[in-house]
Amino acid sequence: MHLDHHHDGPAAVSADAHRPDGTRRALRIGLGGPVGSGKTATVAALCRALREELSLAVVTNDIYTREDAEFLLREAVLPPERISAVETGACPHTAIRDDISANLEAVEDLEDEVGPLDLVLVESGGDNLTATFSKGLVDAQIFVIDVAGGDDIPRKGGPGVSTADLLVVNKTDLAPYVGSDLARMAADAKAQRGELPVVLQSLRSEDGVRDVADWVRARLAAWTA
């Protein structure tokens, strides 16, 4: 993983924690999960919560539109030059796991053009329960599910639910309307994940992203330590 430290060209391997000039690169956190679970809303809330204290950028992976990037632009959570959209050729998990080249390029271009950056958030296109990020692309990943997708998803498990560094169960405000049992979701998630953390959140409530933002701050502190 350290093939390229002494060259002045672009890095060969980007999981490397350093940029070609020897400085530490930004921490990269991936957000994955099923369609509509609240990935973009979480990214937007994180940007609002962290943008005063950190230098941030976002990469979106839309499946066939630029909608996520455009939502973030419209909401003005970050200046436009800090948001980059990657096209995934009908296969969102390929772009975050099997062939990460376009995403790595987007991350590196952001660091070159608006850096130095502390944190890059990479949002996957909405996908299925097996979609996870490659360790070559991100340093940590958040899997976002919601209560409306069915309260049996934590029980079903799968790589995203079981192994993500953080599991977020979003839209808890909707639980009474869709008949989802939050306590059961939390217990099932705990059974699947052991010591790995779980956050239940509603972005409809004031400061709803607080727990996730604190988790990101802790990861960043560990990264720069």
Binding site: L3, D4, H7, D8, G9, P10, A12, V13, S14, I63, Y64, T65, R66, E87, T88, G89, A90, C91, T94, A95, D98, D99, I100, S101, A102, L104, E105
Partner: protein
């Protein structure tokens, strides 16, 4: 030289960004020119004998140690559509990353330094083949084959075409791929002594105009 290295480089799963590109198939599907396996075959045949012949010759010449800067200019001159030039450079940059991680080589490092935002993909492909210990014929095969396999894979997704039919199309095109590769290697050898002007300059106007239109679509599945 390892024959198996050719399989590594030619594998559709080689992580060099190609999965997000349709090779013009998405635009052709929308225009109604690809609707089924026979029309996919005609599309791929046209692509193979035009742009495919050009990229195969460029890749072979790069594998023979022709000057990559000159080849890159030759590729630009043979690619009228700015959208296709941008896609070729983007794919070249992505292939460069994968190749340097897979077969570290000073020539790849030098090309990456010279073209930090990417050289044309076939030029990078030729140098990647060299770095992998492969020859001009191997580079031309990779280029010609991916030029037809990319659209075939994309059409399986775009039209829900039966994957067995799409693969049979590729098998039927195989003898023509052989001929294109042979011609590409012959002309690449001449290009090493006579310069890149002897390289073929065939083009497919519908692919060029289709790529320009495709680049403006707000909603699409593939990057090109």
């Amino acid at each position: 030289m390892s024959r198996a290295a050719l399989l590594v480089l030619a594998d559709g799963r080689f992580p060099a960004g190609g999965h997000a590109h349709s090779g013009g198939a998405e635009a052709a599907v929308r225009a109604g020119r690809i609707t089924d396996a026979p029309s996919l075959e005609e599309f791929c045949r046209g692509r193979l004998h035009t742009g495919g012949a050009v990229t195969a010759a460029l890749a072979a010449a790069a594998a023979l140690d022709a000057d990559p800067g000159e080849l890159d200019r030759a590729a630009d001159a043979r690619t009228p559509s700015p959208a296709l030039r941008a896609a070729a450079r983007r794919l070249g940059r992505q292939l460069m990353r994968a190749a340097r991680a897979t077969w570290p080589h000073p020539e790849l490092d030098a090309l990456a330094r010279r073209f930090p935002k990417g050289a044309h993909q076939p030029v990078v492909l030729g140098l990647a083949a060299r770095a992998a210990g492969l020859g001009p014929e191997d580079a031309a095969y990779c280029s010609a084959y991916e030029g037809v396999s990319g659209p075939a894979t994309a059409v399986v997704r775009l039209l829900s075409l039966d994957p067995f039919d799409a693969t049979a199309v590729l098998a039927r095109l195989a003898p023509e791929v052989d001929r294109v590769v042979q011609d590409a290697v012959d002309v690449a050898r001449r290009a090493v002594s006579e310069g890149p002007d002897v390289l073929p300059a065939r083009s497919a106007p519908l692919l060029e105009t289709g790529a320009e239109a495709h680049a403006t679509w707000p909603v699409r599945l593939f990057a090109s």
